[in-house]
């Protein structure tokens, strides 16, 4: 890897690391004050356990070898990976991808908020990472889904759709929070949500533009797309709720920004021009309605991981089928419908997301059921009432 690219990948890796505490604040502010520390800890725990899992086994199983379904053990404990070859490029890439591995299970924490035993979460995260994240990542990046021609620039299918559908499976096993939906569970600190949103947007430039794995023009376009899609989605969400509910809200703006970031993730290095505005705008509109599904369908996805990450990821991933523009990037990927590519790419996008969703849902449901039958997944009603900060961690956020 040439020096400029190596520098950009390392900087991007640090940017992506910062997203996990950003996500923790984004979620933590939306939580109630007696559960905020538990939320921060669920997220922080992901950057404690996943680097270990990733170094020992995760990277090797998700990138080793040429298998269609799963990697191999060639890079167990990063065996034989030196820094003298390729200027340390592979090691930089492993670090960069490790940050993605860490934030993906963290996304699920928003759905199970306020009621999951921390001990169950502590086991769920590494097990889910190896049984769900690693194989789906392999399918998309170096396995059968990628080989068929489906596109996922920075993890729309592999990360957001994957974690979003897993969040749905997890809350179906876990059950609803006490008092939901009657009590409304309003955010305890909107300023914390806004800080988290800012950190996420900042870090997301590394997430998307870093995914070129090169200091290249494609990275510059991915950066610009990340900027524009988030703005467009936040704008559309706010306008939608202003017209629909009467007032523009901070939470709407923050949720819109994140939905746009999610939607542009799979498309960031494949689209250009006005496409990021369209992708972000559509995601903002669709997600603004999708977050209302949980009340109608009766699943308690506490902080809208399904409505924002699953739905936003699907929107962005499917829109690649319309907007992918290989000519602009001088790339060898498929053309979208608007660039004369026919419906082939759209079909591959649909198949890739369907495959990821089926696997992720079934295996996540299974992991949660096993945890439920063994150590239990849910805190006692008394612990839930006292708040998870005190009952799980013997701390309180505010004195």
């Amino acid at each position: 890897m040439e020096p400029a690219s190596l520098t950009w990948v390392l900087v991007s890796a640090a940017l992506v690391l910062f997203m996990t505490p950003g996500l923790a604040f984004f979620y933590g502010g939306m939580d109630r004050g007696r559960n905020v520390l538990n939320m921060l800890m669920m997220n922080l725990y992901c950057v404690l356990i996943i680097p270990v899992v990733w170094m020992v086994l995760g990277y090797s199983l998700s990138q080793g070898g040429s298998g269609n379904w799963i990697g191999n053990f060639d890079w167990f404990f990063l065996k034989d990976i030196g820094v003298l070859e390729d200027n340390g490029g592979q090691l930089a890439t492993i670090a960069f991808l490790g940050m993605f591995a860490a934030i993906t299970p963290a996304l699920i924490s928003g759905a199970v908020a306020d009621r999951m035993k921390f001990s169950a979460w502590a086991i769920f995260v590494p097990v889910w990472s190896l049984l769900v994240y690693v194989p789906v990542f392999k399918w998309v990046y170096g396995g059968w889904l990628g080989d068929r021609g489906s596109l996922d620039f920075a993890g729309g299918t592999a990360i957001h759709v994957n974690a979003g559908i897993a969040a749905l499976a997890a809350v179906l096993v876990l059950g609803k929070r006490k008092g939901w939906p009657q009590e409304g569970h309003p955010p305890h600190s909107m300023p914390l949500v806004m800080i988290g949103t800012g950190i996420l947007w900042f870090g997301w430039f590394g997430f998307n533009a870093g995914s070129s794995l090169a200091a290249s023009g494609q990275a510059a376009q991915a950066f610009m797309n990340t900027f524009l899609a988030a703005a467009a989605a936040g704008l559309v969400w706010v306008i939608t709720e202003w017209l629909r509910d009467g007032k523009p809200t901070n939470l709407g703006a923050a949720s819109g920004i994140v939905s746009g970031l999610v939607a542009i993730t799979p498309a960031a290095g494949y689209v250009s021009g006005g496409a990021p505005l369209a992708i972000g705008g559509i995601a903002g509109l669709v997600c603004c309605y999708a977050v209302k599904l949980k009340s109608k369908a009766g699943y308690d996805d506490a902080l809208d991981v399904v409505g924002v990450h699953l739905v936003g990821g699907l929107v962005g991933s499917l829109l690649i089928g319309f907007f992918a523009n290989p000519e602009f990037f001088d790339g060898s990927f498929g053309e979208g419908l608007f660039y004369g590519g026919g419906a082939g790419l759209l079909g591959e996008q649909a198949l890739a997301n369907l495959a990821a969703m089926v696997w992720s849902f079934i295996i996540t449901f299974g992991i949660m059921l096993v945890l439920k039958k063994t150590i239990g997944v849910r805190v006692s009603p008394q612990d839930e009432a006292d708040g998870l900060d005190y009952s799980q961690h013997a701390e309180s956020a505010y004195h």
Partner: protein, 112 residues
């Protein structure tokens, strides 16, 4: 007229509010307070050091009602706030000499 003051566990806030509304109470004031009784405090841990937190979070309801509904309001609060465990809180009743509705100047029971 009586002032009913109730100290309850914070998570019982909504249940007690609903019970009071069901009992016909039309207004109430709620504050987040801290205190302890027989329950004592609880322990928190910071970097391995255990701290005794004497004052635990509670919610205080203040409701002014007519004399004839005092018993039923107390019964409603008791039923809604009870968990049977230590720390459920207390209810006390004090006499109110005078009550004024600021907007209209009404006084006494009609100002409730």
């Amino acid at each position: 007229m009586k002032l009913i003051t109730a100290i309850i566990k914070p998570f019982k806030l909504d249940e007690v509010k609903e019970a009071l509304k069901a009992a016909g109470v039309t207004g109430m004031t709620v504050s987040e307070v801290r205190g302890f009784g027989r329950q004592g405090g609880h322990s928190e841990t910071y970097r391995g050091a255990e701290y005794k937190i004497d004052f635990v979070p509670k919610v205080r309801f203040e409701i002014v009602v007519d004399d004839n509904v005092v018993e039923s309001v107390i019964a409603s609060i008791k039923a809604a706030a009870s968990t049977g465990k230590i720390g459920d809180g207390k209810i006390w009743v004090t006499s109110v000499d005078r009550l004024v509705r600021i907007r209209t100047g009404e006084e006494g029971s009609s100002a409730i």
